[in-house]
């Protein structure tokens, strides 16, 4: 594959796209699929064929359009968005289209709202626009040009230089500078090096990675290829959750297509660069998101982490230097190389560059996927983009970072969303789940929910995490049963401190975060439970569930 061949594929595809005047894009990502979008697509296709509109009208399946709560979503020519489309609505839509009438009013979703206008799409630029199962469409959208340029015109050091200059930080949650990680692996000595894409999106409430993989899988492959070239790796793995069958299917298709075009395999683009990618399916263990546990799992073992150092960059998979990045991190790489590191560094805040994809969920009007520049305030996220809390309820807290993060109250709403600010407030950026809670949620119950999660997911290797999470969960249970004494609270605080500072890996070290952050901001609720046997939200003390 040379640059000219790539351009030729892109031009052919663009011409064929330009030949149809109207484009009906139906979202076929997991959210809309569970709202019958596949049937909607089939009915539209049949309707177009029956009416003989095939010449000027093309129906295609695309990735996620973001507003998952209003599925199934269908866009017409990228400027009209239909929401809550059912198969029965196809006739009306095609009638309007055929007669050149204005769009069907009852289905139109306004796109001049902050939900759409406040977003800045880099990672999601192709989501909802291209067909994720066709490599030609990705190429027509400038796909793989960054790879070809990197391979033919840049040295590995120059690639790393661009990534370092961009200021990109790991999107998996911890925010380690990507350029630094790459150069460490590049400098490491080994007989073979590996690149691993961490797609084990275990945080409950986060679905960004799944969406990227379902909507634009080639972008992740291209990012991995560029990374492999930069660090000198020849083999790669994508570790993806078995719970994401659609993402797995589309990745498999993408890998096969890239291999066929010679973008994966030996002598890529006529250079001496070889790279092969294989999928490894996770089997439902949250701890496998931790990099050393993930490596153990790829090696076919139980996902138990080991102490670091040595870091995987020096001794990773099979003892060889290994680069592990998150899906979203890899997805940022092609645009960074296309537009230059400075372009990316101009977006965001001083220390957190670029954009971040968030999954908005919980008690909020607009649930779905959004990509915003770093530094946006939580208030904008919740009330403008999210559209506020529905049913006239009051906002209580926003939870970021999943079981390793924390709950932030209304006082924190004006805080910018970046790695440092969130950490200062006692939460973390995490992989990007953002769950909004209203007055019907009891914060002690939420803390118990997360502790139950950490307790069940603890791998059992180190004592503080294995026993500590169990004890903390027991204490929280006593509190939510309204049977706790003040000394229980003191013990809970002591345990938080102990587990945080003595656990082996990130899971245990961050397991107390939900408790610590709720203790910090919602101490009143704990007090009410213990001193007055009262749960303000009315959740606790009744039937004990889960």
């Amino acid at each position: 594959m040379t640059r000219e061949e790539l351009e030729q594929i892109a031009n052919t595809e663009r011409q064929s796209q330009a030949s149809t005047a109207q484009k009906l894009n139906v979202c076929v990502a997991a959210g809309c699929l569970s709202c019958q979008s596949q049937t909607v697509k089939e009915v539209l296709e049949k309707g177009v064929a029956r009416r003989g509109l095939g010449e000027r009208c093309a129906v295609k399946g695309v990735g996620c359009m973001g507003l998952c709560s209003e599925g199934a979503l269908v866009s017409v020519d990228q400027n009209i968005l239909y929401k809550r489309v059912l198969p029965a609505d196809a006739t009306d839509m095609l009638d309007a289209l055929e007669a050149g009438r204005p769009p069907v009013e009852r289905l139109v979703c306004p796109t001049n709202t902050p939900f759409f206008q406040r977003q800045k799409k880099i990672v999601l630029e192709n989501s909802g626009v291209i067909d994720p199962e066709r490599i030609e469409e990705y190429i027509a959208a400038c796909g793989y040009t960054a790879l070809v340029e990197a391979l033919t015109e840049l040295t590995p050091a120059e690639v790393i230089e661009q990534v370092t200059r961009s200021g990109l930080r790991g999107r998996g949650g911890a925010g380690y500078p990507t350029g630094l990680k790459w150069s460490t692996v590049a400098k490491a000595v080994g007989t073979q090096k590996f690149v691993i894409c961490n797609a084990d999106e275990g945080d409950p409430g986060a679905f960004m990675d799944r969406s990227v993989l379902e909507s634009d899988p080639h972008r992740v492959l291209e990012g991995m290829l560029i990374a492999a070239y930069a660090v000198g790796a020849s083999e790669g793995y994508i570790y993806v959750r078995a719970e994401y069958p659609l993402a797995i299917k589309r990745l498999k298709i993408a890998i096969r297509q890239a291999e066929k075009l010679g973008l994966l395999g030996s002598n890529i683009c006529g250079t001496r660069f070889n790279f092969r990618v294989d999928l490894r399916l996770g089997a439902g263990a949250f701890v496998c998101g931790e990099e050393t546990a993930l490596i153990a799992s790829i090696e076919g073992k139980r996902g138990a982490p080991r102490p670091r150092p040595p870091y995987p960059a020096m001794e990773g998979l099979l003892g060889e230097p290994t680069l592990i990045n998150n899906v979203e991190t890899f997805a940022n790489i092609p645009p960074i190389l296309r537009n230059g590191g400075e372009w990316f560094a101009a977006i965001g805040t001083e220390k957190s560059k670029g954009t971040k994809v968030f999954a908005l969920a919980g008690r909020v009007q607009n649930t779905g996927l959004v990509e915003v520049p770093m530094g946006i305030t939580l208030r904008e996220m919740v009330f403008q983009i999210g559209g506020g809390v529905p049913d006239g309820k009051n906002f209580k807290a926003v939870q970021t970072g999943g079981p390793s993060g924390g709950c932030l109250p209304a006082e924190c709403l004006d805080m910018p969303v970046d790695y440092e600010s969130l950490a200062r407030a006692g939460s973390i950026m995490g992989s990007g789940g953002m769950i909004i809670m209203d007055e019907t949620s009891c914060m002690v119950d939420v803390a118990k929910y997360f502790m139950d999660f950490c307790m069940t997911e603890s791998c059992g290797k180190c004592v503080p995490c294995r026993v500590g999470t169990y004890q903390m969960h027991r204490l929280l249970e006593t509190i939510t049963q309204l049977q706790a004494a003040p000394k229980d609270l003191a013990l809970l605080e002591e345990l938080c401190d102990l587990v945080k500072h003595t656990s082996l890996c990130g899971l245990g070290q961050s397991a107390p975060n939900p408790v610590l952050s709720t203790l910090r901001y919602f101490a009143e609720e704990y007090k009410a439970h213990i001193e007055r046997n009262q749960c303000v939200a009315g959740v606790c003390g009744q039937e004990v569930h889960v």
């Binding site: 997991a30 959210g31 699929l33 569970s34 709202c35 507003l67 998952c68 709560s69 599925g71 999106e201 275990g202 945080d203 409950p204 409430g205 986060a206 679905f207 799944r210 969406s211 078995a242 719970e243 994401y244 490894r280 399916l281 996770g282 089997a283 439902g284 263990a285 949250f286 799992s297 790829i298 090696e299 076919g300 073992k301 139980r302 996902g303 999954a359 969920a361 919980g362 008690r363 649930t367 779905g368 996927l369 939870q399 999943g402 789940g433 769950i435 809670m437 949620s441 939420v446 929910y449 997360f450 999660f453 997911e457 791998c459 039937e543 569930h545 889960v546």
Partner: protein, 166 residues
């Protein structure tokens, strides 16, 4: 114990073992392929029983304890056969906030089982999931591989009674 270096013989003439053998060949009969192989066994047979674990362990030359350790470590693997129908209730944060605990209560009231169990007549298995990633549609339930969104206790009850009928 004598160590046999020849390839172990499949537990039965069931054709599905050929699929399992193919996976093991693809991973080069290496212990690294243990998880991949167990995925294939579960896909083919629905669950992992002792016979399967012994066969896989012997073929990939790992101690049975390690195969059992891996099979029990990961939540995705199940050692018991599933019921005729499965119902997976998502207990991710968004679903939890939006009423998944009530769905668990409904199951307990209607079928007398908790997630992870199967009804005595083998009709329905109820499982819980950490997060299906369908947070936009919370609370989500998967009925026999079909994801349903914004599920109310009443809808769940109706589906369960539909399955309960002969």
């Amino acid at each position: 114990m004598p160590v046999s270096l020849s390839k172990p013989v499949a537990p039965s003439a069931d054709k599905r073992w050929k699929i399992v053998d193919a996976t093991m060949r693809r991973v080069g009969q290496h212990s690294r392929g243990l998880i991949e192989t167990l995925h294939t066994v579960q896909e083919a047979f629905g669950y992992l029983d002792e016979t399967a674990l012994r066969y896989v362990a012997l073929s990939l030359r790992v101690p049975l304890s390690r195969a059992y350790g891996v099979a029990t470590f990961y939540h995705f693997f199940t050692l018991k056969p599933a019921g005729e129908h499965t119902c997976v209730i998502c207990l991710g944060t968004a679903c939890y906030i939006k009423g998944a605990p009530q769905l668990v209560d409904t199951v307990r009231r209607e079928l007398g089982i908790t997630p992870g169990e199967t009804t005595e007549d083998g009709k329905v298995s109820v499982l819980s999931a950490r997060c299906l990633g369908s947070c936009g549609l919370a609370p989500a339930v998967v009925y026999d591989n079909e994801v349903a969104g914004k599920v109310s206790p009443l809808q769940l009850k109706e589906q369960l009674s539909k399955w309960g009928r002969p």
